[in-house]
């Protein structure tokens, strides 16, 4: 198995931070707010590896730090501590020591992100096709016909009617917007894809279609993915391995089947029990 991403001791603290921050927060204390300085320890000491074609699930309640972890990896936010190494075909990138230009370069050329809210990932002022074109143009494809063909190909792949390629995403339903967002993220065949609560807020049949699509993409392109969700069903269906987070800490990690069938941590047990 080829490693794609290696994350070690990733931490993110909002606020001034103090010596007691890490010792006095976490699931044992039932909070991620430091009592002495008031900083929020959004995520602390997160370590994991991700291999080619693998889907890693990050599960937890809202505020547990799962989205924060992904946002630091996609450079939306700066981490406080930790390291992350991205293994590109024959190069390695130490993600957090890159300069802003290199970060933007990786973001545009090697990573894909699908946000829960399509307005973060899509430009609503241009057509669905234009959104995909933007990503292709960033990758120096300057041929109108080829861009157009690729946009149509991606939209039909994500089951958006090709007749609507020139419509603005604002005219689409939530599920369709999400599929356009996935098409945009996939436009450049990124080796690493981040999915942040992609199915939250969609109705069940649309959820199922999008989850199917994600699985197909994984099989077809061997894309490594990190799926952030609070939905146990999504984790069960997609993820091979799972991290369970609470109050900014990873409380349990392992094969998804194992975590769900035989939860060790009290919080995971509660989570699994409440779902069943």
């Amino acid at each position: 198995m080829t490693k794609v991403l290696e994350v070690r001791n990733l931490s993110k603290v909002y606020g001034p931070g103090c010596m007691q921050c890490y010792e006095s927060t976490g699931p044992e204390f039932g909070t991620n707010i430091c009592p002495s300085c008031g900083s929020i320890v959004a995520a602390h000491d997160i370590s994991f590896d991700l291999c080619k074609g693998e889907i890693l699930g990050i599960m937890g309640e809202s505020g547990s730090g799962k989205s924060t972890a992904v946002k630091t990896l996609f450079f939306d936010q700066e981490p406080t501590h930790g390291s992350a190494r991205f293994y590109d075909s024959n190069k390695q990138h130490d993600l957090f020591s890159l300069n802003p230009a290199q970060k933007r370069n990786l973001r545009n050329h090697r990573f894909g992100m699908v946000y829960q809210n399509p307005s973060l990932g899509l430009n609503f002022n241009v057509s669905a096709g234009g959104n995909i074109a933007e990503r292709l143009l960033m990758n120096d494809l300057r041929h109108y016909r080829q861009i157009r063909d690729r946009a149509c190909e991606l939209l039909s792949r994500t089951e958006v009617a090709i007749a609507r390629v020139d419509e603005q995403p604002g005219n689409f339903s939530g599920g369709m917007q999400q599929r356009v967002q996935i098409a945009k993220a996939l436009a450049i065949n990124p080796p690493l894809l981040f999915l942040d609560e992609v199915t939250t807020g969609l109705d069940l049949s649309v959820q199922a279609a999008i989850l199917d699509l994600i699985l197909e993409i994984q099989q077809e392109f061997e894309t490594a993915m990190i799926v952030v969700t609070h939905d146990l069903g999504v984790i069960r269906l997609l993820a091979g391995r799972t991290l369970v987070m609470k109050n900014g800490r990873v409380v349990e990690a392992g094969l998804t089947d194992q975590v769900i069938e035989d939860p060790q941590h009290a919080y995971t047990q509660q989570l699994v029990a409440s779902a069943l």
């Binding site: 057509s127 096709g129 234009g130 074109a133 143009l137 041929h143 109108y144 080829q146 020139d166």
Partner: protein
């Protein structure tokens, strides 16, 4: 306005001129890069060509010849006022309407039809210097985009145009890449004039007074309009319904940029050269040619041909 001895030559004080000259040198050294400068208050509102005016006043020297045009015309309000002002503050500067005679040409909205030479400088007045402003409101982010030559979002704009209208609909201010990196807003010149920037023999300086930016297209520098590989750049072709190139109704030239207007009396569309100097010269050379042909039979056929064009 009287030109008393106390008036500084060129209106601006020497420090202001020096700053602008230094800015110009930087702009030439980094083709297409928008160099900020302090843009002094001028005795006219910003937006009336103060950027171009400050450039002209800073680089014009005694005994030089200046031409000022607005939309191709030497006689429109903006041109007349700017010329009058420069004449009053630069006593030893000559003004002309003849493109070939001018050392310095300050222009708004047009590049003269007559090809400029190595000895000439063209100063263009710019209202909006940054082509990225239509896709990115934050100047900080625009600067990063310029630095990384990230013009993908401008190209998305072109993509959308082709999708909706089958062609790029930008008629003027066409984004143009200078020397393979920076994309500039070449001021509101029509598409017709953009190819004249490419490998131009004359230095082209662009000044935005309100936005406080100066940039340049140095002589013999590549200027490529932003396009897709399979969608070539088109200039206005002035072809009528019958497939004929329209001619100027005044001088008959079929090789100039034409203005289109409605004749108030006849209620018909009229096409006329936008460059008045070119139009007058073309007309007089044609008339001379016609006179000439009365005496020399050899040339008569050619003159008739020319007249029929």
């Amino acid at each position: 306005m009287n030109t008393s001895e106390a008036t500084q030559f060129g209106f601006l004080d020497e420090f202001a001129k020096k700053e602008i000259r230094r800015t110009v040198l930087k702009a030439i050294a980094i083709p297409g890069y928008q160099v900020p400068y302090s843009s002094r208050e001028m005795p006219m509102g910003r937006g009336f060509g103060t950027g171009g005016l400050q450039l002209t006043l800073s680089i014009i020297g005694r005994g030089q010849t200046l031409k000022v045009i607005d939309q191709g015309s030497d006689d429109s309000v903006n041109a007349v006022n700017l010329r009058g002002f420069i004449e009053s503050v630069c006593p030893s500067v000559n003004t002309t309407t003849n493109t070939a005679d001018a050392d310095l040409i300050q222009s708004r909205h047009r590049i003269p039809e007559l090809a400029l030479t190595e000895n000439q400088v063209l100063v263009l007045q710019v209202p909006y210097p940054d082509p990225l402003v239509i896709v990115e409101p934050s100047e900080e982010k625009r600067k990063i985009m310029h630095g990384e030559a990230d013009y993908s979002r401008l190209l998305v704009k072109l993509y959308e145009d082709i999708v909706h209208f089958d062609e790029v609909t930008i008629s003027h201010r066409y984004p143009t890449c200078i020397n393979g990196h920076y994309v500039i807003d070449p001021s509101p010149i029509p598409r017709y004039d953009v190819p004249k920037l490419d490998q131009s023999k004359a230095l082209v300086l662009l000044g935005a007074g309100r936005e406080k930016k100066i940039y340049a297209v140095p002589p013999f520098t590549d200027a490529t309009p932003l396009v897709f590989d399979d969608q070539p750049f088109h200039i206005e072709n002035f072809i009528d319904q019958d497939g004929q190139r329209r001619a100027c109704q005044q001088c008959g030239s079929t090789e100039s940029f034409l203005d289109e207007y409605m004749d108030a009396e006849t209620q018909t569309l009229v096409f006329q050269c936008s460059d008045t100097d070119y139009c007058t010269r073309y007309l007089s050379s044609r008339n001379n040619g016609a006179l000439h042909s009365n005496t020399e039979l050899d040339n008569s056929a050619e003159a008739v041909e020319l007249a029929n064009d």
